[in-house]
Symmetry: C2
Subunit: 359 residues, 2 copies
């Protein structure tokens, strides 16, 4: 098998039909596929179609309940607590973010915390739902523990991403980032290239800082240890800062929802327990939102046009890479690696679909 290029719309169609064959209705299959394909279009390959296999495994293992409906268990005009009822993370999260958006339209700001959900894909999808309506969107999630606290050996935190988006003219400002120093996927890339990883990325199973990617991956997948927070393993480079940002995600997702903290995610049989947090702020609560947007655009342009450091020829502002990737990949199609292609053919076979007919 060789890697192939496929149009995003064709891949989305395959994805939708796969989810329908798995038992989701058409509307839900469309939502899930939207989140997945946006990740591929944004260039975030680690959270796109290559996760289809994982989602199907989680359906089979009982983490995901196809027929459940998320439930609002507590709410005020500015907040809601949602029980995800083991629903598909993308569906629970879209439901939750829509509540935050509706409440923010009335109250000016709203926060929704979610327990008992599942992996929700890219954090930025949900923050963008708010930005597309002219509002500031924030999205966070905890996850299966893979990150150690500063000076720790046990994984006690998820990679706990934070997305923050702010409406701007051509495309929104979009910061979407794990609070770990790198993603697990990045270590896998180094492993495939047989390249040593920098010290400060992760620990081996004995709790030592490690440059062999294989040892770090073994340590993560066995649960023996894990990745360092943003800032690495020592306070010298700010490990306690990344650990702090990760704690904020944990507080706003698993703590205030009375949900499952990352160190207990996927601990119970048939229950992942992933928790999310969504927040929406209407910039109108700070006065002249058009003036705010112009002020922001001006600052972004000042940053882009400021002097570059040695050997660099461009300063990106957050969201530019995603916007450029989106246009490019929309036109040129998505490249599927050999491994992903193999997975998709197998998934198609099992679902009774002909993968070739989508290419």
């Amino acid at each position: 098998m060789k890697s192939i290029v496929i149009k995003a719309e064709r891949l989305r169609k395959f994805c939708e039909e796969t989810f329908q064959r798995l038992g989701f209705n058409k509307k839900d299959s469309t939502i899930i596929s939207d989140v997945i394909i946006l990740s591929d279009l944004f260039g975030i390959d680690s959270h796109g179609i290559n996760r289809l296999k994982m989602y199907i495994q989680q359906l089979h293992s009982g983490y995901i309940d196809i027929r459940s409906q998320p439930e609002i268990v507590f709410q005020t005009p500015v907040s809601a607590v949602i029980d995800g009822k083991k629903g598909m993370g993308q569906l629970v999260s879209r439901f939750a973010m829509n509540i935050a958006i509706e409440k923010a339209k009335i109250s000016g700001v709203a926060m929704v915390t979610v327990r008992n959900s599942n992996h929700y894909g890219i954090a930025g999808y949900y923050s963008l739902m708010a930005s597309n309506e002219g509002m500031i969107g924030i999205s966070m999630t905890n996850s299966l523990a893979a990150v150690v606290p500063t000076h720790g050996k046990d994984p006690m935190l998820g990679t706990n991403p934070i997305a923050f988006s702010f409406p701007a003219t051509s495309h929104p400002f979009l910061f979407d980032s794990a609070t770990s120093v790198v993603s697990v996927g990045k270590i896998e890339v180094y492993d495939q290239l047989s390249k040593p990883i920098p010290l400060g990325w992760g620990l081996n199973s004995e709790g030592f800082d490690e440059s062999n990617p294989k040892e770090v991956l073994k340590s993560i997948f066995s649960g023996a240890s894990g990745l360092h927070p943003l800032g690495g393993g020592s306070e010298e480079m700010g490990s306690h800062k990344g650990y702090g940002f990760s704690m904020i995600v944990e507080i706003l997702s698993s703590i205030i929802s009375l949900g499952t903290t990352s160190n207990h995610v996927e601990e119970k049989e048939g229950e992942a327990g992933v928790c999310h947090f969504f927040m929406v702020i209407d910039p109108k609560i700070f006065g002249n939102s058009a003036a705010i947007q112009r002020h922001f655009e001006n600052y972004l342009n000042e940053i882009r046009n400021s002097s570059k450091s040695n050997d660099q020829n461009r300063i990106y502002t957050h969201g530019e890479k995603e916007a450029e990737s989106f246009l490019r990949r929309k036109a040129d199609g998505l490249v599927l690696s050999d491994k992903t292609l193999g997975d998709l053919r197998k998934i198609a076979d099992e679902a009774g679909l002909d993968f070739g007919s989508y290419c």
Copy 2:
């Protein structure tokens, strides 16, 4: 002159009387001194009494207007925009955080953004005002630009700290951290020890990563270049992540307040233009706040008791170091370095006070 130890209460008294001699009333002098001395008690020496000299300079240069009153220029039940009117940062910020607290008590959540203020001391002082009332407190500030964006040479961002505190039983969870990889103060410490700094902390005046602390300090103070964001200078260690967190601070302080972005702070004569952001969340808007607190305490204990990495014997949760330093320094007194002691004697002389009488 030799370094001396002084009781916090005596130093606070000196600080209060100095501000009164400078023209502040008794109430305002007490507030400013509270913020300053708390920093010393917390062990954050870079933001305590050693800053007295800087504040006096800023009074003389016209950045700080003693007699001005902050003004609410826009508000809703969940928000306010405040013009600091060049007031002392601590006074403007206490005023702003009190508004956020009062609004959050009624609405469940509130955000206050501030423009045209001055250096406010430690971010955590203000977030703790909310936690002391049983609520989540968030505090951020921009500052004179000293941090480059990823791949940039010009300082376009302040060290832009974020403080987040959450009520807990013995002392609050308190995360208070600059979004730069280190503080300017830390580089000064290495310089005094004639020790090379790790690559990834800052750039020299030519925009190259630099290990000589002198060169980086020269570059910062001349405005030629500056510190790296948390994550260092390359995307490999997550530079774009620290840069993103710094941008969030900028958006919530200088952008939505229509204030001065860090790259223009202290640009106009007689005006600093520093901007802040404060947010308060009442955990009751998520249901059972007592259960939330128990759930959080349990997680903090799980983290503290989890396995340590090689050579480490303790995992701290955020706020523990500050709480322990507070008790220790309250009992043992504060150590003033030779340099600070010299500054304080000079300040006392100029104010017509006898520094020896406070020791």
